[in-house]
């Protein structure tokens, strides 16, 4: 290991401070979720799992969770292929058109989300799909596609397109070549894009506030409303569970990357 230069020593405590600041809410929320108090309390006086019970025993929390998980899964199923095909198209384009299309596809993540939410809301009224499951999935897909396009584009940059040509010269149709050769090569990027899409949907609250009510209330929307109406410590429990889900998703991805790297290093 190379020792850092003296001039850079201050960077370490600085970095630690930044990380602490970023993680502080997590360190507050997790203990609060195990509190016995009737309101959000930090630090908790008495420990209990009552808010976890309150979450798992409430039919409407469970319904919202089901909707959220289902919407996130459907978003993954839509955004991943759309994002992949877009990135593939961009890769095959020449000149400015590629940059323009790339920028266009990133728009949903660039436009202030509240503007997007209002726009989507008005369009959905016309289309009569406000508060519908389809509406949620479509809106979340629009928000998730930029992540998939970005990760897959990065993957395609590393992909050697002579592999694609080789497959086709050997007798594979374009479609077959993509499936047999390209997808296995960029699977980590696709996987990363899919995880981003899943988390984007699961985490999304602003657009959902406008278009995801009624029977199709998603978890984040319900949490937001619960927080507004009465400060219900159940949301601390749910937040903790969401954090766990996110950490698991990222962890699984990191493991996959690590396994891939190790396999590569072993053979150099």
């Amino acid at each position: 290991m190379r020792r850092p230069a003296i001039g850079n020593l201050w960077l370490t405590p600085f970095a630690i401070l930044v990380v602490l600041f970023l993680l502080a809410p997590v360190f507050v929320v997790i203990p609060m979720s195990f509190s016995d108090s009737n309101y959000l309390q930090f630090p908790p006086q008495v420990w209990s799992l009552r808010w976890y019970h309150s979450y798992f025993d409430a039919a409407e929390w469970m319904a919202a969770t089901r909707t959220s998980l289902l919407a996130a899964s459907c978003t993954v199923l839509l955004a991943t292929p759309i994002g992949f095909l877009s990135a593939f198209a961009i890769r095959n384009m020449r000149g400015k058109a590629a940059a323009v299309l790339f920028g266009f596809l990133l728009l949903p993540q660039v436009v202030p989300v509240i503007l997007l939410a209002i726009g989507v809301f008005f369009i959905y009224i016309r289309l009569r799909i406000v508060d519908s499951f389809l509406g949620i999935v479509l809106a979340h897909t629009a928000l998730a596609v930029p992540f998939v396009v970005t990760t897959v584009s990065a993957g395609l940059k590393r992909f050697d397109f002579s592999l694609d040509q080789a497959a086709r010269s050997l007798g594979a149709s374009r479609f077959r070549a993509i499936f047999d050769v390209m997808l296995p090569q960029i699977r980590l990027s696709l996987f990363a894009g899919a995880i981003f899409a899943f988390v984007t949907s699961l985490d999304e609250v602003v657009v959902s506030l406008f278009i995801a009510g009624g029977d199709n209330t998603v978890l984040t929307r319900k949490m937001f409303l619960a927080l507004r109406d009465q400060v219900d410590p159940t949301i601390a429990a749910i937040s903790t569970l969401l954090i766990v889900v996110s950490v698991i998703a990222v962890g699984v991805f990191m493991l996959a990357v690590q396994r891939d790297n190790r396999r590569r290093e072993e053979n150099i």
Binding site: S162, S169, L170, R174, R176
Partner: protein, 378 residues
């Protein structure tokens, strides 16, 4: 699987049976905007011939190869393999084996899976597939490597697997795009000989792209030299080297001094053999370093050109010695000698005069077709 089917390439490997196809390219044109990659290229490659496309980068050789493979789409012209027109046919329906510069082996498949992939695409059964892959891998000196991963192979081994994968499905023709350029010199020369032998055993038509003139001379039945989207000369290796058709070819294949014969000093060059061409301002005499003899002042023999020069430098390179000198008329000239003791002893020192002899059979006259010079009027 019918047994007869599997005898194809293996049969050829064993019996040298000839299944090769003739390739006929006519009037092929490909433009990229203002750049003309192929400008009316016509070429016939014989059945079982090893033809090399040789040229500098941007000469059109890769575009021509990619047009054959189906990855470049020419604006006009025709390409026929045997009797079949393949212009407009999708790459996967052309039945052409291709070896890529980067080998393009699939890293997520084993060696065996890579080689069997084209057979799998053609619906060949598993047992037959494995059998044929095994035999082809033996043919490229890679027996028993079926279960290795690609990243466990050296560059030379990858190259062999890439060749095996390109021949296993008995393609009508085989294309190779600078397949040896990523290897070090020693291995490259070894594999050149292997490729030559494999070609002899397979009897397939091979079209090979390289910018390495020595590789082209070693491997080819015929060489097509390309420049600026055109084939400037097509000939057998020896003919190409000994009798280049133009200054470009003479300059590109091997090292040569191109001496403007009309302007050269008449006291140092005997031009009696040249006839009318001697006065043509665009005629150049091809002088190759290894064809020159260092001779004494009184050396006079029919059929020779003589040059009077002054030695500038003598550079020892191990197997050879290069003598750099300047002609009376001002041109630099290089003489190549072997490095045996007796030769070295006899070499002139820097600053001393040197008389050089060149036999007329060891040279030829070419027209100057290089940039900025008008072509020879006939």
């Amino acid at each position: 699987m019918p047994a007869a089917r599997s005898t194809g390439i293996n049969g050829r490997l064993a019996e040298g049976r000839d299944l090769a196809a003739v390739v006929t390219i006519s009037h092929l044109v490909k433009k990229y905007g203002a750049f003309t990659a192929l400008s009316d290229v016509s070429l016939t490659v014989g059945a079982g011939e090893f033809l090399t496309l040789l040229g500098p980068s941007g000469s059109g050789k890769t575009t021509l190869l990619m047009s054959l493979a189906g990855f470049a789409d020419p604006d006009s012209g025709s390409i026929r393999i045997g009797d079949r027109e393949i212009m407009g046919v999708e790459p996967h329906k052309r039945n052409i084996g291709m070896v890529f510069q980067s080998y393009a082996l699939f890293p997520h498949m084993t060696v065996g899976e890579n080689v069997a992939y084209p057979l799998k695409l053609r619906g060949v059964g598993r047992a037959d597939r494995e059998d044929r892959s095994r035999r082809v891998l033996s043919a490229v000196q890679m027996p028993g490597y079926e279960n290795r991963r690609i990243d466990q192979l050296s560059g030379g081994q990858r190259q062999r697997v890439a060749v095996a994968r390109a021949i296993v499905f008995e393609p009508d023709i085989i294309l190779m795009d600078e397949p040896l350029s990523a290897l070090d010199k020693k291995l490259r020369e070894e594999l050149q000989i292997e490729l030559k032998h494999l070609h002899r055993r397979l009897g397939s038509t091979i079209i090979y792209v390289t910018h390495d003139q020595k590789e082209a001379l070693t491997l080819s039945d015929r060489i097509a030299v390309m420049n600026r989207g055109q084939i400037v000369q097509i000939a057998k290796p020896q003919e190409m080297y000994e009798h280049p058709a133009s200054a470009f070819v003479a300059d590109f294949i091997g090292y040569s001094l191109l001496l403007p014969i009309a302007r050269s000093d008449s006291s140092s060059v005997d031009k009696s053999q040249l006839g009318a061409l001697a006065d043509n301002p665009y005629a150049l005499l091809v002088v190759r370093p290894e064809k020159l003899d260092i001779v004494s002042e009184d050396h006079r023999q029919p059929g020779h050109f003589y040059f009077t020069s002054e030695v500038k430098d003598v550079v020892y390179q191990g197997d050879i010695v290069m003598v750099y000198a300047r002609l009376k008329s001002g041109e630099d000239i290089v003489v190549r000698r072997d490095s045996r003791f007796a030769t070295l002893q006899a070499l002139p020192r820097g600053g001393s005069p040197m008389r050089l002899a060149l036999h007329q059979s060891d040279t030829s006259l070419v027209t100057d077709d290089r940039a900025g010079v008008a072509p020879l009027a006939s």
